[in-house]
């Protein structure tokens, strides 16, 4: 197993190298950021000076190699627009997004499992029909549109939930202000409800369907039939046999879904003015704030890679057939 982990870590270095290279080249050839940092009436010399100060006057490969050298020393450069260490800015935006993603994940998986199980158990009944119809629509509605409708209906018309904003929980927790963090928590959750649902609804729908079909398959297996024929109650059949075997796909699901949701936050963070990493990266790409984009790319790739690794490990642990 250790060699497996070692190999994966080695691969991840290559992967990170790849994504930074791609994003670096893409952003560099796609526009000159210098003009974002000079005033409207700046002279040619001033522009040239700023370009030099920002390091954009050097050839591309030199810029990239310099960057790599710095990264190797843990130096990610300064954000061009914030003029502060890029990594600090990225890490500052990360907790909010993690909160949103975990909330959405909990919402999606937490409901997908009971929904899927119920739909499978009551196959062909209105319960099944209702859940599956919702799931089908949930997979067909663009999330930004769902977000705006929720703002208008639950935020503005019914006034049930706050329309936008964010109350930090993880951030104070990480800074050691445990009391603040936990006194914030109810509000954090309250502010997360709408964006969290908007992010997670697609996943909920997809996974409810997945759980249902996986459950149906298990319910059709011989051993479940045997259990039933032995006169066990439906409840115990479901709990002891069907669920136990149906939860394997759920593990994979959680891992993959986390990554998927992380990608979906860009749009929702904009809709709900949520100060997370998705919006940060989008703005930084538009501003050609390359150090921030790079730092974010590295952080996000690391998260993705570790999640995949974790999923594989857990999978191997619970499924004896899988060998690493």
């Amino acid at each position: 197993m250790w060699t497996f982990i070692a190999r994966r870590l080695l691969q991840s270095v290559i992967v990170i190298f790849g994504v930074t290279l791609i994003s670096f080249v893409a952003l560099q050839i796609g526009g000159d950021p210098t003009y974002l940092f000079v005033s409207e009436r700046a002279t040619e010399e001033e522009i040239a000076m700023v370009r030099e100060a920002l390091g954009f006057d050097k050839p591309l490969h030199i810029q990239y190699l310099t960057y790599l050298g710095n990264v190797a020393q843990g130096e990610f450069g300064n954000s061009l627009s914030y003029r502060q260490p890029a990594m600090d800015i990225v890490l500052g935006a990360l907790p909010a997004t993690i909160e949103l993603t975990i909330f959405a994940l909990t919402f999606a998986i937490g409901l997908a499992i009971p929904f899927g199980v119920f739909a499978a158990l009551y196959r062909g009944t209105p319960v099944d029909g209702g859940i599956m119809t919702m799931a089908m629509f949930g997979q067909s509605i663009p999330n930004f549109w769902l977000g705006i409708m929720m703002i208008l209906f639950f935020g503005l018309y019914l006034r049930w939930f706050p329309i936008s904003g964010h109350v930090p929980f993880l951030m104070p927790l990480l800074q050691g202000e445990v009391a603040t963090a936990f006194s914030n928590l109810p509000k954090t959750l309250y502010y997360l409800i709408m964006p969290g649902i908007a992010v997670g609804f697609y996943s909920l729908s997809r996974n409810a369907r997945l759980v249902r079909s996986s459950m149906l398959e298990v319910l059709g297996q011989d051993y479940v039939r045997t259990a039933r024929s032995k006169g066990l109650t439906e409840r115990s059949v479901v709990v002891h046999h069907a669920l136990r075997n149906a939860w394997l796909p759920v593990v994979t699901m959680v891992g993959l879904e986390f990554g998927f949701l992380l990608g979906g936050v860009v749009v929702i963070e904009t809709v709900f003015s949520y100060p997370g990493i998705g919006r940060l990266v989008f703005n930084s790409i538009n501003q050609r704030d390359i150090p921030v984009v790079q730092a974010a790319v590295i952080v996000l790739s690391l998260i993705f890679i570790s999640l995949n690794l974790l999923v594989d490990l857990v999978y191997a642990k619970i499924d004896p057939r899988v060998k690493l």
Binding site: Q11, S12, I14, V15, I16, G18, V19, I22, S23, A26, L27, I29, G30, G31, M136, F137, Q139, S140, I141, P142, N143, F144, W145, I148, M149, L152, L156, L210, S213, S214, E217, P249, L256, G259, L262, G263, G264, V266, V267, T270, G278, V281, F282, I285, N286, V293, V297, L300, S301, F304, I305, N308
Partner: protein, 308 residues
């Protein structure tokens, strides 16, 4: 699907012809039995017809503005005695006509993106699975690189750089899909390459490309169609999201996604028709693709459990 490969054992290459029409009849029966796929197919048929003939049906030029008649309600009065059946948008363009033209672009983007992604993915997967070794390593690592990063961010990066446009959009969305195909095809190829009918073809001296494309490829088409139909659905949604971020098609090109994205400023002012109609078009189309995908999966192989 699995029985096709066992067919292959005796016939070397899977036979088409009468077999095919029998399959088709079986598909028809299964579809009618499941009911919903029939409706989905009908909806898609309508969408395709609209996509082809939309410009002939459209009562007005979809890009003709008329800012004096902007934000007209459905059935509102249009220019020169015409009627805005589904209202007009923020520039006084006819929503109905844009919807009809939009069908073409939206479908085009969806299908072409899948074609691009599918082609790259299938070739990469075949090559990777058949040759193995360092080729396999390189291709799969490339896939890892791409999957190690949220796709939407890569898409944003490239669209910001390339600028908006239908072709760019198709390329970006297509490239975003190739890994899925490549992985599945690779897996299938790996298992098929040792099969006897492939060995036999090799023994008969068939060229490598003939083995890959004539012998192996036909045997892995089925799972691909399932993924493709789910994929068209998610690509249409992705196009809408990118439009929301201002990275979709140029404003003179109507697509359902961009129409929906443009409607967002009008929702608070209760101009519902701007969102409802393109929204409905997207939901129904995506829904249909999903239903068809579901049915195809069950029909082709009840045990095929591919995500997306």
């Amino acid at each position: 699907m699995t029985d096709v490969t066992s067919d292959g054992l005796t016939t070397l290459a899977p036979e088409r012809g009468s077999n095919f029409s029998r399959e088709l009849r079986r598909a028809g029966r299964s579809m009618v039995a499941a009911k919903w796929p029939v409706l989905a197919l009908l909806i898609l048929l309508v969408v395709v017809i609209v996509a082809i003939f939309g410009p002939m049906i459209a009562p007005l030029d979809p890009n003709r503005q008329n800012i004096m008649l902007r934000l007209a309600e459905p059935m509102g009065e249009g220019p020169r005695g015409a009627t805005f059946w589904l209202g007009s948008d923020a520039l006084g363009r006819d929503v109905f006509s844009r919807l009809l033209y939009g069908a073409r672009i939206s479908l085009l983007v969806g299908v072409c993106a899948i074609a691009v992604g599918g082609t790259i993915g299938v070739v990469a997967g075949l090559v990777s699975g058949y040759f193995g070794g360092w080729v396999d390593d390189v291709i799969m690592r490339l896939g890892d690189i791409q999957l190690a990063f949220p796709f939407i961010l890569l898409a944003i990066m490239f669209l910001v750089v390339l600028g908006p446009g239908v072709i760019n959009l198709i390329l970006v969305l297509g490239i975003g899909q190739w890994v899925t195909y490549a992985r599945i095809v690779r897996g299938q190829t790996l298992s098929l390459r040792e099969k006897e009918f492939v060995e036999a073809a090799r023994a008969l001296g068939d060229s490598t490309s003939s083995i890959i494309f004539r012998t192996i490829l036909p045997n892995i088409v089925a799972p691909l169609t399932v993924i493709a139909s789910f994929n068209v659905a998610s690509v249409i949604l992705a196009e809408a999201s990118l439009s929301f971020l201002g990275l979709g098609v140029p404003p003179s090109v109507p697509t359902w996604g961009s129409m929906l994205a443009e409607s967002r400023e009008q929702l608070i002012a209760n101009k519902w028709w701007l969102a409802i109609f393109p929204g409905l078009a997207i939901v129904l189309t995506v829904l249909s693709f999903n239903i068809i995908g579901d049915w195809l999966r069950d029909f082709l192989d009840p045990r095929l459990k591919e995500r997306r």
